[in-house]
Symmetry: C2
DNA sequence: ATACTTATTGTACTTATTACAATATTTAAC
DNA sequence: GTTAAATATTGTAATAAGTACAATAAGTAT
């Protein structure tokens, strides 16, 4: 099962177009952009590298190389499961990042080698997006030192092309919500107010919604149930809580 | 630059969890689903393998392994350029296919080895979609024996997971057109009738459009210019031709 | 001249989107 | 306890977008 590339290549030394060097072999990783919503801002779940090298930033997107018998979806689920303890998170592949330049930084490559005990020349990654209730307790039994939520619009500089991956992820959330509106409730707690939902929409779509018109939108969602329960401990009129009803949603979508 | 995996691995023989065998190395390809529109049907551009092996089907999606210093976008453009002679085709990455099972068929693997002079254990592919005027003369200076348009709803059985790739591509066209309506005119000749455009919409969206309402839709597109020219040689009232005006489109989109 | 085929066009109705502000409820401050 | 401050809740009118529906026009074939 092992491939000795050197052996193959030796046969072709001196050939003009050595086919064994023209086509690349690469490692493949998945990286997950996990978004959460708090204080009217989107946050990204970042992990600290276990073996930071000097001069390199410590925070990155959670990810992993693919195992031999694993496809990318499985690897992404594994990463999130290790990270959060949650088995069935909503997860969506959105783009493969394949530039040879993404591994141009020697610090990143040094970290890779230490982290995976493996010399890696090239690395492509398949980026996933996931949505998570930010107040959810993460049972971080994972290999990472720390896990933190970092505001989407104030991210640290990260290794590889992780900053670019995040910036392309936000568009993906919009198309995901358009396709399957229920997915937005992954970002909210079980009970939430109309204002919270509106602010989340405003954040995701990057525009303001008129308060009264937004209420009509809520009423038009049969799967959004108003509760008797209201906010407590606020210094003003308390707002009604709503909850998302998955069963009604599925019926309304014909599932 | 060469990696001798065997050498690395020898150091770890006997270890319980040998890290050098757990993480995979793979070749990476791009595969292009090029769609064309003719006789009110979508067609897919397929190529015949140069070195078909017995018991394997001959037609497949055009594709290629990635070169060492090439990213997936470049590889996909290279494939289409070799195939059609067209340098700047509209092209969109839509999904990475990574299942270990996709290379389960020995015939496919035998073909790979012959085609690329290389032993390949695993192969992931990054799928692209492209749209092409079907009457465009393809200067097939390519490595393929033949190139043909095959109706989307009557495709041959193809190697790897190419049938699945095509089936997932159609959804992608819809979201592409929603995002950038001009892209649909890549499928039509320079001059086309309202009926041709309507039938193309009906094919892509899988539903009928009322003729009169569709006309309103056309009028609402400022970038769709009616011409004086009309159909000739038809056994009934001849239809007016329209053309797509890219400049007006860009202005109307604020580019 | 007539039949056949496809092209072209308008109106009424329904639904969705937008613009816009006064009143209600609760706590905090005095 | 009165007032101020903060946020919640609610409706109406206008406009735009989408839908349903069929008669007439223009050309070829016989």
């Amino acid at each position: 099962m092992y491939i000795c590339l050197r052996k193959f290549n030796l046969l072709f030394l001196g050939m003009k177009n050595n086919p064994y060097t023209e086509f690349m072999q690469t490692s493949v990783s998945v990286d997950c952009v996990v978004l959460g919503f708090e204080n009217n801002r989107l946050h990204v779940l970042l992990v600290e590298r276990n073996t930071p090298t000097p001069n390199s930033k410590d925070l990155k997107l959670p990810g992993s190389l693919l195992f031999q018998q694993e496809d990318a979806d499985k690897a992404a689920h594994r990463v999130l499961s290790e990270l959060t303890g949650i088995k069935k998170m909503a997860l969506k592949q959105f783009k493969a990042f394949t530039s040879p330049q993404r591994t141009a930084n020697p610090d990143d490559m040094a970290w890779l080698q230490v982290a995976y005990h493996k010399k890696i020349n090239r690395l492509i990654t398949i980026a996933y997006i996931s949505l998570c209730k930010i107040d959810r307790k993460l049972n971080n039994v994972s290999k990472y030192k720390t896990v933190c939520w970092s505001p989407l619009n104030n991210l640290p500089q990260m290794p590889f092309d992780h900053n670019q991956i995040v910036s392309e992820a936000l568009n993906e959330v919009r198309t995901w919500v358009d396709l399957d509106p229920a997915i937005i409730f992954e970002l909210l707690p079980a009970k939430f107010t109309a204002a919270e939902l509106r602010l989340l929409f405003e954040t995701i779509y990057g525009k303001k919604y008129d308060v009264r018109n937004f209420h009509k939108k809520i009423i038009a969602m049969p799967y959004l149930l108003p509760l008797e329960e209201k906010q407590e401990g606020v210094a003003h009129r308390s707002a009604r809580y709503y909850k998302f009803d998955k069963t009604v949603y599925k019926k309304s979508r014909g599932y």
